[in-house]
């Protein structure tokens, strides 16, 4: 078994295509994210010019007023005037203070992201603000200030000792993507294990080595290598790019381990189907990128939007769970949220591993 494991590790190490997708591609993406977000973060932030179109939501307007000054520079306008100001670049965005407050922006840079975060922050606390507004009208200003301070607090210095900004969504989703890219190696492993998938698998199936030994040595090797690649990525993010992982960073390792196993198992399950190899690889890449998109890799507000409209997706998507667990440790220091993410991820991983094993254990086939 040890010999098989060593040979499997050796083979994976020499597989340049796998190494590109599971190690180099994430490192390149991390560097690109850093170049995109990192440089703009270092600039001294000036107040963001925003137009406000009043629509009768006093609580939201009070909330915005509390931010006027250091964070925002508000200009109250009519809808038409605001549109023109946005088009000409005089303002970065328009807040519509209606019953359901909304935001219109013309770009996707960091300033637009901050406006969006502010709106999301308000929405998450909307019911609380409305209750205060109804029962303690005089307390609205204080509540709005408190909410804005909370936003500032979350933005600037988190409990985990890290700076939170919209780019963290991208970096944490990138880590999730790397974990789930273990599915690429999982697909290949499955094709080397099922006799109906390749001549190599058929050759191995007619040897006296027990099937369980072949499956375990394959999974263990793939897991080891993928986990090692993720550790390299984490080290690069932390020491190379200065992305904070929080004081309790060892808690991130079980997240990575489970995420990797989840990816590998999903890949093995998919690899055991009769689809063509190219289609399997395509499904893995497209599926992983889609899940990472939903967890905020390309657009920082995505996870919050998903949470708003389809929270179940964030509970079932391994990418969202991994990203969330990272946030819980690196930013919020929220043990309950971390535990919830880890447990859900473990359940999904166990189910996928069981499904993958059921696909792999088969020894006699209908056709080859």
């Amino acid at each position: 078994m040890g010999r098989l494991y060593r040979y499997n590790v050796l083979r994976i190490l020499r597989n340049r295509a796998d190494m590109f997708w599971t190690l180099l591609f994430p490192l390149i993406m991390a560097t690109l994210f850093y170049v995109t977000f990192g440089s703009s973060q270092m600039e001294n932030m000036k107040p963001i010019l925003v137009a406000v179109v009043e629509g009768g939501n006093g609580i939201f307007e009070t909330f915005l007023d509390a931010l006027d000054g250091e964070t925002l520079r508000l200009q109250k306008m009519g809808a038409q005037e605001a549109q023109e100001a946005l088009t000409s670049g005089a303002v970065t965005g328009i807040f519509y203070s209606e019953k359901e407050p909304s935001l219109m922006v013309a770009g996707t840079q960091i300033q637009e992201s901050i406006l969006e975060m502010l709106l999301n922050g308000y929405r998450q606390n909307q019911s609380l603000a409305e209750t205060i507004g109804e029962k303690h009208p005089l307390g609205v200003l204080g509540a709005a200030k408190a909410m804005s301070e909370q936003t500032d607090f979350v933005e600037e210095v988190s409990a985990g000792g890290s700076t939170q900004d919209s780019s963290l969504d991208s970096f944490f989703s990138l880590i999730a993507m790397t974990c789930l890219f273990g599915a690429l190696m999982g697909v290949e492993s499955a094709m080397r294990l099922r006799a109906d998938q390749s001549a190599l698998a058929a050759r191995r199936s007619v040897t006296p080595t027990r099937r369980m030994g072949l499956i375990v040595s394959e999974m263990a090797a793939v897991f080891t290598m993928q986990f090692a690649y993720i550790c390299i990525l984490l080290l690069y993010l932390h020491f190379g790019l200065g992305i904070g992982m929080g004081r309790r960073w060892p808690l991130l390792l079980p997240v990575c381990a489970l995420g990797t196993l989840c990816g590998v198992a999903a890949g093995m399950f998919l690899g055991g189907t009769r689809l063509k190899e190219g289609i399997k690889i395509g499904v893995v890449i497209a599926g992983t990128l889609f899940l990472c998109f939903l967890s905020g890799m390309m657009y920082s507000g995505m996870k919050a939007e998903v949470e708003r409209f389809a929270p179940i997706v964030n509970r079932l998507s391994p990418a969202a769970l991994i990203s969330d667990a990272f946030y819980s440790v690196a930013v919020y220091e929220n043990s309950c949220r971390y535990a919830r993410s880890l447990i859900l991820l473990a359940v999904i991983t166990i189910l996928l591993t069981a499904a993958a094993y059921l696909r792999m254990r088969r020894e006699r086939y209908d056709s080859i």
């Binding site: 098989l4 050759r203 006699r364």
Partner: protein, 310 residues
């Protein structure tokens, strides 16, 4: 050693093996000959317990062959039709990997790997990866991975497909050598010359059935053709062709568009002389003339009505 009885394997409507029977004795080089799609590889996969089958029984070394028959598998070596090696591993590592699936002892395995490398003549390519090997060398590596553990039974499924003549000869010589060393060999091919050259007994397959079996000589005696006379560069009329057909022992005479006359004769003396005399009488000009005993293709042609190479 191997006993297959009444084996039926269906893929939906298609019957890949149709009540197929086979008996192989220890020490044989047994040939499974048939055109592509005749059921050779399906039979091998059923024998190796890789494929489910609808009906029949298979025993190897007197025991039922099942996916968990590890003791039986230990004595079998397989050389698959498609090259099945790891691209990222060197020649030595590949052979060691597959040998290790049978032989756990490291020191013993080292000897066996070296022996296999020498046997297939890959001494100079130990550290090369399969990508750098030519087609012939790759086939030799494929063979080495299947025989390194010194199996008692070696199953070779079309091991010479797409191989240059030099490598092919070396492979065929190697198979005979393995057999002399005590291994029983099952050799599937659609190249009748190879099967004829090395196999002690042959089964001819078509549409999943064993249509004939025996030694080469026994198979040839099953058919009418005892001698085929070929006359090249001849322009005979239909009347002259008919006259040739009426000569003693001649049962078929055909003239191709390329002016090649093929005359098939049953067993009899002086067939060639008789035909040449007739051509001389008719003052027909012709080029090269030769007579040949029947081939396995003739056997296949007479039994199935089609060429083995179809």
């Amino acid at each position: 050693m191997i006993h297959i009885k009444n084996l039926v394997k269906r893929y939906g409507e298609l019957t890949a093996l149709d009540h197929f029977d086979l008996d192989i004795q220890e020490g044989e080089i047994f040939g499974l000959l048939g055109p592509n799609g005749s059921g050779k590889t399906t039979a091998i996969n059923c024998l190796l317990a890789l494929l489910k089958y609808d009906k029949g029984e298979i025993t190897v070394f007197g025991k039922e062959m099942r996916p968990d028959s590890y003791e039986l598998k230990r004595q079998i070596g397989i050389v698959p039709q498609n090259v099945a090696v790891f691209e990222q591993m060197t020649v030595w590592e590949n052979i060691d990997y597959f040998c290790g699936l049978y032989v756990p002892d490291k020191a013993k395995r080292r000897e066996l790997v070296e022996e296999a490398i020498r046997f297939v003549g890959l001494e100079d390519y130990r550290k090369m990866t399969p990508k750098k090997l030519s087609g012939g060398l790759l086939r030799r590596l494929n063979i080495a991975c299947g025989i390194a553990h010194r199996p008692k039974l070696i199953i070779m499924d079309e091991p010479t497909v797409a191989v240059d003549p030099q490598s092919r000869n070396r492979i065929l010589e190697g198979i005979v050598e393995l057999n002399k060393g005590g291994a029983t060999v099952i050799y599937t091919s659609h190249y009748m010359e190879e099967v004829e050259q090395i196999c002690s007994r042959i089964v001819i397959m078509d549409h999943g059935r064993a249509i004939a079996s025996g030694t080469t000589e026994e198979l040839k005696q099953m058919i009418r053709t005892a001698e085929t006379v070929t006359v090249e560069g001849i322009a005979a009329s239909e009347g002259q062709l008919q006259a040739i057909r009426e000569l003693p022992h001649v049962f078929l005479a055909e003239l191709s568009q390329e002016h090649v006359l093929t005359v098939k004769c049953t067993s009899g003396r002086h067939n060639l002389i008789r035909i040449l005399n007739y051509l001389q009488e008719q003052e027909l000009a012709f080029g090269r003339v030769y007579a040949a005993p029947p081939t396995l293709n003739d056997v296949f042609l007479e039994i199935t009505g089609k060429e083995l190479r179809d």
